[in-house]
């Protein structure tokens, strides 16, 4: 018992004598630095697109390889005419979003923030960007409904609708998981859909997708950069 106490006492004495507050601080600093080093190692870009995203400080998530702009035709809710997505948006920085007008949170917040960011951007950016919203809730996203809903955010947003088959084909063409109806959702039915926005640069390829939670300032930064500088080769 006395031996144990003596051992502890001697250990504490030695600790006090040799381990100063400063050395503890240095150890803590080295530990934190080492942890950060591990983080930065894991953040090494895996593809050229990821490298560009990091270099340019973009907020989107890079695809390992770019996709071509999808080829689909849906109904333009403003004109009532068919809208060939690939032809109509050729050469524009295009944002494609599959959502639904009865969405209670994600869709309206995404579109409101996007509209506000574009509104704050220089004229050149506003003229060079197209935002295309596809209403994936075939039953409720009628042309009038989509048109009125989109005008709430921006009169420049393009709204598209179609039959269930057309909508499915469009989503497959754009490489997004197809939307599905959740009939058991409380208080009516909900629609599960891709939460991200696909961004096509002026080369008509998609290198990036934007998840929910991208801030207005980040949108404005990325759009201005991609319109003026373009996607680096």
């Amino acid at each position: 018992m006395i031996g144990e106490r003596l051992t502890v006492h001697l250990f504490l004495q030695a600790f006090k004598k040799h381990v100063s507050f400063h050395s503890l601080f240095v150890c803590a600093f080295v530990f934190v630095a080492a942890c950060q080093n591990v983080d930065s190692e894991t953040a090494v870009p895996q593809s050229r697109s990821e490298q560009i995203v990091i270099e340019l400080g973009l907020s989107g998530t890079a695809f390992p390889a770019a996709f071509e702009k999808p080829d689909f035709v849906l109904n333009n809710v403003a004109t009532g005419q068919p809208y060939d997505f690939r032809d109509e948006t050729r050469g524009f920085v295009t944002l494609l979003y599959f959502g639904y007008t009865h969405c209670p949170d994600v869709c309206p917040v995404q579109l409101a923030n996007l509209a506000a960011a574009i509104d704050q951007s220089p004229g050149e950016v506003r003229r060079s960007v197209r935002v295309v919203f596809v209403g994936v809730d075939a039953l409720r996203d009628t042309p009038d409904r989509v048109l009125n809903w989109l005008e709430f955010f921006s009169k420049d947003f393009i709204g598209l609708t179609g039959t269930e088959e057309q909508l499915l084909a469009a989503q497959e063409a754009a490489n997004v998981p197809p939307a599905f109806v959740d009939a058991e959702f409380e208080g009516g039915y909900s629609v599960g859909h891709a939460g991200w926005i696909l961004l096509y640069t002026q080369d008509d390829l998609t290198h990036l997708r934007y998840p929910t939670g991208v801030r207005q300032a980040a949108w404005a930064h990325d759009l201005e950069l991609l319109v003026i500088e373009g996607w680096p080769e």
Partner: protein
């Protein structure tokens, strides 16, 4: 029925269906019971025979402060302020710090304030109350610190964080106004009055800085309000932020100017009385 302990920022859409916050009810009941208990059980021993324990004006002031506190903390204003409208948050903050705190302090007779400040656990509060400059720094420090976007956006989604912010705002305001109101106790009346005017000018000018950030920023500053679903249609996050900034200027100014006028005239009256005596 939607029940949570305290109002906090939510990710879901805003609903006008009432929400229930038992934590707020517990706090409000405790405040009222505490006030009545102190008045009933300590009051008779603290005042001279024949003197009122609590004047009607004090009871009216406490009641007004109490009701306003409940109104702006509970649903719907509290819930809107926690995560849907920055304007509601600003209104809540202004009322807490410039209206409710002074009303509650005026509602407490001087013997009650002394009794509370005599508590062992509140000696740090007494230290601050006796030093108006430190109380002034605390008040503005709390304003600045709790409005740093990282801090506000971290605390607001948490019920405990949101409750902590409410308590800290009200607490800092109570300390500041107690220090300002009771300054005569610790310094000469003329010095106390001059200081009072200076500190009120100080708290009139300082909030214009964050107010300017809110009004002139191109983009929303707080993620909480940027990603909140809109509680009012056609009222964007940016519009909300501009209105909140303007509220900081426009609504804060008249309240503080009234306080300033009262402080200035009482200073002037005290000086006239003193020179008359000389």
């Amino acid at each position: 029925m939607n029940v949570s302990w305290w109002c906090s920022a939510q990710t879901g859409p805003w609903s006008w269906e009432p929400q229930y916050y038992p934590g707020i009810w517990v706090a409000m009941v405790a405040l009222l019971v505490g006030y009545i208990y102190v008045v009933r059980f300590f009051g008779p021993t603290k005042v001279k025979p024949g003197e009122p324990i609590c004047s009607r004006a004090q009871v009216a002031s406490f009641s007004a402060g109490y009701l306003m506190l409940w109104l702006v903390t509970d649903w719907p204003i509290g819930a809107l302020a926690a995560g849907y409208l920055l304007t509601a948050h600003m209104l809540q903050y202004i009322l807490y710090s410039l209206v409710i705190a002074p009303l509650l302090i005026h509602g407490c007779p001087p013997w009650m304030r002394e009794l509370i400040l005599d508590a062992k656990l509140l000696q740090w509060v007494r230290w601050l109350v006796e030093r108006p400059l430190q109380a002034f720094i605390l008040f503005n420090g709390v304003l600045a610190l709790t409005h740093i976007p990282f801090i506000a956006d971290t605390l607001k989604p948490l019920q405990f964080g949101s409750m902590l912010m409410d308590i800290v705002w009200l607490g800092a305001a109570l300390i500041f106004w107690t220090a300002i109101e009771g300054a005569e106790k610790y310094t000469a009346p003329s010095v106390a009055n001059a200081r009072r005017v200076l500190y009120i000018i100080g708290i009139t000018i300082l909030p214009t800085i964050p107010g300017a950030f809110l009004v002139f920023s191109n983009f929303p500053i707080y993620t909480t309000f940027e990603f909140a679903t809109r509680a009012i249609e056609d009222f964007s996050a940016k519009d909300d932020q501009v209105l909140a900034g303007l509220l900081m200027w426009v609504a804060m100014m008249p309240i503080l100017l009234v306080r300033l006028a009262v402080a200035f005239f009482s200073w002037s009256a005290a000086e006239s009385k003193r020179s008359g005596q000389v």
